[in-house]
């Protein structure tokens, strides 16, 4: 079965205030293909252009350059109301002068669906988001989490080809956010609609998405599954933005296919994974995730050597902050066992073992 493309963004640039002094390039030659029935996340810090890309797909903005295809058809010139794409807004933007069910019915009525079909769909949607009991409430009479559900139901009711979600969980408290993450995943599964989700929260992106695009300064830095993004970051920005990383300078000795032999400052030679993009030979940077390493009391048995500066106990694991013999900073996250006699105190000389297949070469 071939994967059909839902949204195809081809070489899209967006420049605000072009030709003026305040010219801002929000997107710079961005291309991305989003498959049908995919949970796709645009992840990046604020101002990276992720919301602009979402607004371009929704039709609130028009690209300065490039084209946007929806199931193969060019849509970048269409106004929002002619695109089979719906948005869940950051602050929900629910109509305050309508009840819960009137809000959900709005899109269907605007499409001119017959009234019995509208009533049926509204009923189904109320069930889907578990809001049947509150269907006649006014918007200001329901809680933030409930508004979130109504916003979802309203956007899903017309059965759009693509659902756009603009940081919809950012206004909720932590517990509700966790619940809604699962809920969104369930809704996406049940409806089979393509979701494009915008967030600055890396954890949200990793837990919910099929694929993630990491953005910065109007460009996409990496597109891949959460595992890819986390384990095989292309560059320093992606590695730094998602999770915690140790950055180490190494010498590239040789390469065999997708792996390479690298030499650390202390002379240790280990295998490392090469990124998909090209790497210049010579001095390069690798990353090692803190949880892919272990401490050993025997200095000579480890791959790297250093001294413990600080150890912080977190219950499930302990974080060790070290300085390597080469002078570089290094963090180790080690899972605690019941039998552990206690954390290693600061000032101790230790060896560091890096798990197999846990060294990633960065492209830049």
């Amino acid at each position: 079965m071939s994967v059909t493309v839902a949204v195809d963004v081809c070489g899209v640039s967006k420049i605000f205030g072009a030709g003026t002094e305040q010219q801002v390039t929000a997107l710079n030659d961005v291309s991305v293909s989003i498959a049908q029935n995919e949970f796709f996340t645009l992840l990046g810090p604020s101002g990276c252009g992720k919301t602009t890309l979402l607004r371009l797909i929704a039709g609130f903005e028009h690209p300065t350059q490039g084209s946007i295809l929806l199931e193969g058809a060019e849509i970048s010139a269409l106004p929002p109301f002619q695109r089979p794409v719906n948005t869940v807004f950051q602050n929900y933007a629910l109509f305050p002068h309508m009840s819960v069910s009137q809000n959900i019915a709005f899109g269907l009525e605007m499409q001119g669906r017959p009234s019995d079909e509208v009533a049926d769909t509204v009923h189904t949607m109320l069930n889907l988001v578990k809001m049947e009991d509150l269907k006649d409430r006014r918007i200001d009479q329901i809680s933030g989490g409930q508004q979130q559900r109504v916003a979802l139901a309203r956007a899903l009711a017309p059965r759009p080809k693509v659902l756009l979600l603009d940081e919809p969980l950012s206004a909720l408290d932590l517990k509700l956010r966790k619940e809604m993450q699962l809920e969104l995943k369930r809704l996406q599964h049940e409806t089979g609609i393509t979701f494009i989700f915008v967030t600055h929260d890396q954890e949200e992106a990793l837990t919910m998405s099929d694929r993630v695009a990491v953005m910065r300064d109007g460009e996409i830095h990496q597109i891949g599954s959460p595992q890819d993004i986390y384990n095989r970051p292309n560059n320093r920005f992606v590695a730094d933005f998602i999770g915690e990383s140790n950055f180490l300078e190494v010498q590239l000795l040789s390469r065999h296919g997708s792996t390479a032999k690298v030499k650390f400052a202390n002379g240790t030679e280990l295998d490392a994974t090469l990124p998909s993009t090209d790497v210049i030979a010579g001095s390069i940077t690798v990353i090692v995730r803190p949880e892919h390493t272990r401490l050993t009391a025997d200095k000579s048995a480890g791959h790297l050597q250093g001294v413990v500066n600080d150890a912080v106990y977190f219950g499930t694991d302990t974080h060790y902050y070290l300085t390597l013999d080469s002078g570089e900073e290094f963090v180790i996250r080690q899972q605690n066992q019941r039998g552990d006699r206690g954390k290693i105190s600061s000032g101790t000389q230790v060896g560091i073992t890096i798990n197999e297949d846990s060294i990633q070469v960065l492209a830049g």
Binding site: F81, N86, T87, N91, A93, H97, P158
Partner: protein, 319 residues
Amino acid sequence: MAEIGQSGSRASTLIGIGAKAAIEAEKRELKTRWLLVSPAIVIICLAGFLPLTIILFYSFMSPGPYAGVSFEPTFRAWIFLILEEDLFEETLGLNYAHISIFSRSIGLALGTTILTLIIGFPTAYFIATRPIRQRNFWLFMISLPFWSNLLVRTFAIMMFIREQGFVNHVLLYLGVIDKPLSIMFTPTAVWIGLVYAYLPLMVMPLYASMEKLDFRLIEAAYDLYASRWKVLQKVIIPLVKPGIVAGSILVFIPSIGAYVTPKILGGGKSLMLGNLISNQFGTSRDWPMGSALALFLMAMVMVALIIYVRNESRNNPGG
């Protein structure tokens, strides 16, 4: 037991003293409050209710020989408000002169309200969508005419629309017309004058409610397949309705009782209620009729206000 009883009674005395003090304080506060509002009450009574009572009383009297009233009670003024005695047959028929003035007044007031709404709505929308710093400039421009006297503004409009005025000059020059339009001394002239005079009263409340409008709701409606027209109809208008109603009331009330504008721009053929009332107290020397007409005008305004209040309470059942 005795002890408990004693302490209990002492406590109740204490409570009694406390409650008494509280009541005293409340009384004092009430007194101060009444003192503070009393000037307003005196003014309302002297300048509001008293003249109204006199007017009501006069409207049931007969006209005096040289203006004023003679104290002979009669319903004459109220009957002749809309009816008229035939000069020869002494039968009662409709007073077409009055009815045409009433209908012209209501028509012009409604027309003014509608036209100011049509012009004011996009204007207010334009101002509300400007960057905040520009908004004050536009609001200033809208309120600028209010700095001058209504009489002056009405004469200005006259200069504009008269036969040798600016409008005719431009239209003749452009070749749109081949002889000057005579707008002056027609209901149209009054209409233009009223719209010009009361447009700011429509724009201000409209702007106030549009400023509060969450423009993301408009985006949400666009996103949900609403065309521009549907967005206006289903989202913008319902949300700015308080502004529309307030603006309409603010324009309708002074328009229906307008005096200066029809007097200058309407001439003798386009009288409105305000002019009719003034004539009864002046040239016609029929004070009872003037009083009845004044009360009739007030009743119409009251009806408009009642519709407004009903509308409001239906929209906000809570408050």
